[in-house]
Subunit: 112 residues, 2 copies
Amino acid sequence: MRPVRDALDLLGGKWKLPIIVGLLHGPKRFKHLQREVAGITAKMLSKELKELEQNGLLVRHVEAEGVPVAVTYTLAEYGEQVFPVIEALRVWGQLHRARIMQAASAPTEAAT
Amino acid sequence: MRPVRDALDLLGGKWKLPIIVGLLHGPKRFKHLQREVAGITAKMLSKELKELEQNGLLVRHVEAEGVPVAVTYTLAEYGEQVFPVIEALRVWGQLHRARIMQAASAPTEAAT
DNA sequence: CAGAATCCCTTGGGATACTG
DNA sequence: CAGTATCCCAAGGGATTCTG
């Protein structure tokens, strides 16, 4: 149980996992990432990225110092390791969706 | 991504997963479960159990109507399916612990 | 025992405006 | 573009007390 709590401490909350998902397919810029993670505000994204970076899950890289500065975020190896967690969630989430659909289309006993 | 969000909606938060872990090894009474899930208050446990039951993850069963009434909570098959998620979290959590330990005992480059 | 009720504080997080 | 700063509300969650 303890390891599970540890993981939950680092990956818990509304945004951590979705952000990691957004970075699974390669580095992304701040703005791009914000578009990827539907609904997140700049404030939250900034805050969460900071935490994920501090825990070594991802790496922040300043690409260009120009006036419109360019920064990219890349998943660290350590961050990529959470992939199985995401996969497990995805599988269960699909199971859930199927379950809901079925319940809606087959009110065999309950309703009436 | 959508399925992941769905799963997060049902399993997210501080207590849902720990409660499910507590029920993995068989049915438990309210009080027993509260002891199992370190730190949870009766209020939270009650609230979370209600939500988990409504989503079909577990089943509430009144064993005895006596004065000291007895109620047990059992993981439904649907709830057992989240086991892979918990396992993935546990594995990652252990990886994390190992990483922290190593960082603390081997300040090779960084420190000094 | 199993939980509901009340009170209250803390945190998450959205909106908007501003800066390097 | 990549954030930061401020304001502010709603939800999360703890402590305590009460009841069937």
